[in-house]
Symmetry: C2
Subunit: 195 residues, 2 copies
């Protein structure tokens, strides 16, 4: 089993087979990895935050929780998690995020762009990318509904593992948004193993 | 301006033009209406909970908030709201919701089915339906992330108004899930007016 690396502000896409386990590692600490999945047999079936919230009865997913598709099928099960705080509310940062929220001038790398570029060879275009599962992203919801983005709780070497419950195409990034990553943009690593 | 009625456990779809205002009324109280919108020019552009959360910095949307598309464009603005509590976390109830969560035997009417049937003439299929804006649905998020579905806060005659910021195709239901509607399934009414 080899460890692969996603450079800061970049992304990857690859196929997973049913039963395969993906370990997503934060090698430096305080770094978010946006994750999305589609059924390999039909990319019309996609990882759904809304279905996942409904069937797990929580917005914070961790070990033992199942991530569901829009068709209410199990896509992945979280099998290990050394952090315990991830986000499934926000869409991946995009050029417009930086334009609208952060008044950035000109091109800024973004998770959406990195997902689109890497998923294109699998026939998945930008409009098909829904809310991502934002591994290690630390979002608090106040009692009045106000959202706060805090530094990730992950320390160097922390990880989250998921088992594919069906054949998948997945996308994974090292997030590009300064604020989500405590203002240091670091790599993400991952390992894959067959049962 | 005429008032139209959506019978219990059913739905409607229609076009809205930029500037048009839609008033969604709960005539009986404690009844949820699931709402979704697509750009009329290209249904690849859809109402996005994740973008909307990001740009408004809250999960609870009310008067003055703008609802955004996956392409980060303004789709609708909430112009009036006599209730102040709506949900944008959950996907519409579906046959599988009733199978998995409520162990219902056989067919149960659902918001997803009612959206799919009514949006089909506009070329929008089930896999394109993302998380809906669930008007009057009352969802609490506990500090540990646990979700609770409470009776809607809406009383008879309460309403929410939205202005279309671009030409849209929209779907709207009288929600079919017993628990979300305090165990009485009632109609929804709506009015449309041009500026």
């Amino acid at each position: 089993m080899s460890r692969e690396r996603i450079e800061p502000q970049s992304g990857r896409a690859f196929e997973m087979s049913r039963g395969e386990i993906l370990r997503v590692i934060d090698p430096s600490g305080e770094q978010v990895a946006d994750f999305i999945a589609f059924a390999r047999a039909d990319p019309g079936e996609w990882l759904s935050s809304g279905r996942t919230f409904d069937y797990n009865n929580t917005i914070y997913l961790t070990t033992g929780h199942v991530l569901y598709s829009n068709r209410s099928r199990a896509m992945l099960t979280i099998t290990a998690d050394t952090v315990g705080r991830h986000d499934f509310l926000y869409t991946p940062c995009s050029q417009e995020t930086f334009d609208i929220l952060y008044q950035v001038e000109g091109h800024h790398p973004s998770c959406l762009e990195n997902l689109v570029v890497n998923l294109r060879p699998f026939g998945i275009d930008a409009d098909r990318i829904p809310t991502t599962f934002n591994i290690f992203m630390n979002v608090e919801v106040a009692a009045d509904g106000t959202l706060g983005i805090l530094p990730p709780r992950s320390k160097a070497g922390d990880y989250l593992e998921m088992r594919a419950e069906t054949d998948l195409v997945v996308g994974l990034t090292a997030c590009s948004a300064e604020m989500s990553n405590n203002y240091r943009l670091k790599p993400i690593e991952f390992e894959r193993r067959r049962p």
